[in-house]
Amino acid sequence: MPDVTSDMSSDWMTAAEIAAAVKAKTMTALDATEAALARVKQRDATLNAFTDIVAERARGRARAIDAAIARGDKLGPLAGVPFAVKNLFDVEGLPTRAGSKINRDLAPAKRDATLIERLEAAGAVLIGALNMGEYAYDFTGENIHDGPSRNPHDPTRMTGGSSGGSGAAVGGGEVPLALGSDTNGSIRVPSSFCGIFGLKPTYGRLSRARSFPFVASFDHLGPFARSTADLALAYDAMQGPDEADAGCATRPLEPVHASLAQGLDGLRIARAGGYFAQNLFPEAREAIDRVGSALAVSKTVELPEAARARAAAYVITTTEGASLHLDRLRTRPNDFDPAVRDRLIAGAMIPAPLVDRAQKFRRWYRARVLELFKEVDVIIAPATPCVAPKLGQQTFVLDGVELPVRANIGIHTQPISFIGLPVVAVPIPLEPMPIGVQIIAAPWREDLAMRVAHALEQAGVARAPRPKDV
């Protein structure tokens, strides 16, 4: 085993840089894997990002890649890149805990989730599974069973959730690439709080097969990375229909990596006003102003009835979530995080006509928002109203009003995922804590959101800041 504790050369390398080094034979896949495992060992006592490490599997996979290189085989675009997944993804041999105590009693998964298979087919190396809020019903990254994942820029603060371990592992430099899920904001919120890039693709774009669900109407899976190029490489590798997910679209591959550098020419970009210009701490205003200024945005659009959209998303979430967990609520209520249990029990009690009305409103809202995309290509909006709150913080004071933290973290993400729009969360490196901005496009136009995100990165406006102690 190499002396990885003294060789941290891949410490802050991007996935693309690692893959290039592996292909150039200046780094072996095994070296990259061992370095990642060593970083996890060194940093995870603080970050608490990982719940499972699959070291021997990873070493075996890395050796196979190195053997392929020795044979002169063609390598995938992510050759030798270590990655990790939120622990709601099936990993062969592990029970899919989905942040819960209850699921630990499940039989070990017999097969990896589709997206893991696709990343590994592109040469990536899975090294473990990541902490998350129980059953993904969370915006904080706290977990009563496994402890909170901790923000790499300040471990006394939240990572955001529910993909909290994904945010900590990428933002803290343990791995350059991670996967998470986003039902109401669970990729975009940790991206914002941890200062990294996150892509929530169009609803139905990426297969959810063999991942533990939450809200079938809204569940999306997607990647986290520290650069737009890495985000694009991972996203492109994971696209494609999958009969094992009834919600996965049968669209052709529409890769985005090659078009990243096309720039902003011809793109009509607007800022979301109204609802999205309210309830913002100064840092969130500063971030959206910087992005608006860099993109020379002069137009403002208003997403109609966005507050009602958030309300409808809440109703559908709590009821579909309750339906999913009804048997467990009957048989093992004491094994839930009480806060999650009590929300789900309440969700089970919403009258069905109100849920049907929420789904009808969803159709209405979708049509109105799609009208906006006849006038603009991309809309920018805050990702979170604030930088990462302190762990355990219950309220914050905004404009003199004390508001509950949990209920307000996702107010700007929920009206977007409600209708499945693709979004790139870009990190704005404010000091001392970063914060994200949403780059939103019309359905199936991830390419446009990624182009804008890349342009912001090239301009130095969006950047994943390196934590001071990493």
Binding site: T318, L329, G347
Partner: protein
């Protein structure tokens, strides 16, 4: 129109007991204040949606394709 706020406040505990029983959920009395608070928030948000008039022919977003 769903229940008005005072009626909701008065009736939520009975409602929780009745629906909990119908669904086979055992709700510890100690959990009830939190369940009630969550239900109150959920119904308040559901009311925001309920108050928005939509045409009768509006399809729900959850359309099934055969």
């Amino acid at each position: 129109m769903i229940l008005t706020r005072p009626a909701l406040t008065d009736s939520l505990d009975n409602y929780i007991d009745a629906v909990g029983s119908a669904l086979g959920l055992t709700i510890d009395p100690a959990w009830k204040p939190a369940v009630r608070a969550n239900l109150d928030v959920s119904l308040k948000l559901a009311r925001q949606v309920d108050e928005f008039a939509l045409p009768d022919e509006t399809e729900p977003a959850s359309v099934f394709s055969a």
